[in-house]
């Protein structure tokens, strides 16, 4: 890569390599092959022979009496002209095979040499797998990358899709940072970015489909309607969500999961007094007695408790941005209790968010049906009211319809924190409907 005939580039790496090779060849002592002296032979043998009365030292390293005896014998046998093998064999005939510190490369003990090499082979295999995967990752053509992505995602659970999405998003952010810091060349950055963006698009399509299917499987009542819409969803999802600003849903906070309160203090107190009593009792009788009875409990959960647990978990997942996993849990709840309004409402809301992003009318319709069902199941469910109102406002631009729902929301005594978060939405709806904002809505 010389830029001109006159410019001389110092071939640094070639010179370095050459110097290194020469230095190592001289340094390895290959050139001056002086004959091995008997003393060198003795040391070589002695480092391979275990000191008989030590645990893991060689006779070369030990000053134990037995080691001194062996050293003397080795020197004498060398003087007698015995070969290294003969000397070793003699010692083995007296002390047994355990006297040699190096396991022989024969019989069963061959394993100790072969297994690390086999392990190395496995390690190489792992590397190969990574490289094969790298070839998949190394695809630079965006179209091809998208096709591979679709292939990869086929049959994946919504959880997996979600993780995959996180990974791709992180990869993009990552490449951006690397590029900005100057560690990634412009060309590499563009390649990576184009590829990952294409993958992300393919993944998003797949995710919307998966959510459609999940919704279809979840609720028999809407199954037929959604099933007919799958194709439609497909077409809709072809558009990148980020490119459809019109349908971006307004961020509405998820209401806090409704958790039952328990007697925290009571148990803490019981534990403390139990511990105190234990110390007292044991100190008094100080003997090797077995510990006191441990509290026992019935680990099987009532169905109600299970439902509550699932709902709590799902809410946590939702808060953590794992809508797919949350949706699965809500569906599980519906399997146990089809009339659970919390699950119906939350599921509807999740579907709506996905549908709005993926621009999928079928999903939105399904979501709407769910939210309406939730409102029917429990007219005073403030969350369902809030969600439904938001759907009216965002999708139908029906401010008065939204206000009707919001009024019910306000009437259901929602928690203050939720009210605070929803305030701007409410004000927007009331203003658009030309109605005065109720005093219970917190000011901006």
């Amino acid at each position: 890569m010389s830029t001109g005939p006159r410019r001389f580039r110092f071939p640094l790496w070639i010179v370095l390599g050459g110097v290194l090779v020469v230095a190592l060849v001289i340094g390895s002592g290959v050139l001056n092959s002086a004959p091995v002296t008997p003393a060198q032979r003795a040391v070589a043998i002695e480092t391979r022979i275990k000191c008989p009365s030590c645990e893991d030292l060689s006779v070369a390293n030990s000053s134990a009496q037995t080691a001194v005896i062996v050293r003397g014998t080795v020197g004498q046998l060398i003087g007698e002209g015995k070969s290294d093998q003969q000397i070793e064999a003699y010692l083995v005939s007296r002390y047994g095979s355990a006297i040699v510190l190096v396991p022989p490369a024969s019989g069963w003990s061959l394993l100790v040499w072969v297994l690390p090499l086999g392990g190395g082979a496995v390690a190489l295999a792992v590397l190969t797998v990574v490289l094969v995967r790298k070839r998949r990752n190394g695809v630079v053509d965006p179209t091809e990358a998208a096709r591979l992505e679709t292939e990869l995602d086929a049959g994946a659970s919504s959880d997996q899709l979600d993780t995959r999405r996180q990974f791709l998003e992180q990869s993009l952010a990552d490449a951006f940072a690397e590029h900005r810091a100057g560690d990634l060349s412009d060309h590499d950055y563009q390649t990576l970015r184009r590829r990952d963006t294409a993958r992300l698009a393919a993944l998003d399509i797949r995710m919307v489909e998966a959510d459609d299917l999940a919704a279809a499987g979840a609720d028999g009542s809407v199954a037929t309607a959604v099933a007919a819409d799958v194709d439609e969803g497909d077409q809709g999802a072809g558009v990148r969500p980020v490119d459809t600003p019109g349908s971006t849903p307004t961020a509405v906070p998820v209401p806090a999961p409704r958790r039952s309160r328990r007697q925290r203090l009571l148990i803490s107190g019981a534990v403390a007094s139990f511990a105190a009593a234990l110390v007292l009792v044991v100190a008094l009788f100080a003997a090797n007695r077995l510990p006191g009875q441990t509290p026992t409990g019935n680990p099987t959960l009532s169905q109600q408790a299970q439902v509550q647990q699932s709902l709590d978990q799902a809410a946590t997942l939702e808060n953590e941005g794992q809508p797919g996993a949350a949706a699965q849990l809500y569906q599980k709840v519906l399997g146990q209790d089809p009339q659970n309004e919390v699950a119906v409402a939350q599921l509807g809301w999740l579907e709506y968010q996905t549908g709005a992003q993926g621009n999928s009318p079928s999903l939105i319709a399904d979501a709407r049906a769910k939210l309406e069902q939730a409102v029917k199941l429990n007219p005073t469910d403030y969350a369902a009211r809030l969600y439904l109102g938001t759907v009216f406002l965002d999708q139908d631009h029906d401010a008065s319809g939204a206000v009707a729902q919001y009024q019910a929301f306000l009437a259901a005594n929602p928690p203050a924190s939720l009210l605070q978060q929803a305030a701007s939405l409410l004000r927007q709806a009331y203003t658009q409907a030309g109605m005065p904002v109720p005093s219970s809505v917190p000011a901006a």
């Binding site: 037995t66 005896i69 003397g72 002390y95 047994g96």
Partner: protein
């Protein structure tokens, strides 16, 4: 592979580990494990040397009776423990004439060994083994170590740690039984 890669790798490692655990569980503690000598069943190396009294000593290869060869040091606790038993053994078999004792000093000063043997009442020959030739020929690594050599010159037993007179009797009885 493929979808369930983690599962298969996990199970494989588990199986290998189970094998390892099974092997480890089957191992006796090293302190009770039988130590072996390659000499057992083979002709005993010649017992030649100088006694504490300065006399030359040697046992012919096929001595015609059992020889109990005991490596010891005066300061070692198990040696002190087995001492009286060795005296008993020697006394009993001297009369029967079917076995004799030979001791070898292993890692001790000669004066200490001499005093020790005198106090113990050991009347049998005790070899000095100044250059460790005997210890090496017999592959001795610890003290006390006892070899039992059959009348035909084969090593029949190798015992590391304190022996008892009864234990030696049993070894000799067993050796006689297999011979017969």
């Amino acid at each position: 592979m493929g979808k369930h890669r983690a599962r298969w790798i996990g199970i494989t490692v588990l199986v290998v580990a189970a094998g390892l655990i099974a092997v480890l569980a089957g191992r006796p503690s090293a302190s009770v494990a039988e130590v072996q000598s390659p000499l057992v069943g083979h002709p005993a190396p010649a017992i030649v040397g100088t006694t504490l009294d300065g006399a030359g000593f040697s046992v012919s290869r096929a001595s015609g009776h059992f020889v109990v060869l005991n490596f010891f040091a005066s300061w070692c606790a198990p040696c002190q423990q087995e001492g009286p038993d060795l005296v008993t053994f020697q006394f009993e078999h001297q009369q029967a004439g079917d076995a004799s004792m030979v001791s070898v000093v292993f890692g001790d000063t000669l004066s200490a060994a001499r005093t020790y043997q005198k106090t113990l009442g050991a009347t049998w020959p005790t070899l000095t083994d100044g250059n460790g030739k005997l210890a090496l020929a017999y592959g001795v690594s610890d003290r006390p170590t006892t070899f039992v050599i059959a009348p035909d010159g084969r090593v029949v037993a190798y015992i590391v740690g304190a022996v008892t007179a009864k234990g030696l009797d049993r070894v000799i009885a067993a050796a006689k039984a297999t011979e017969a």
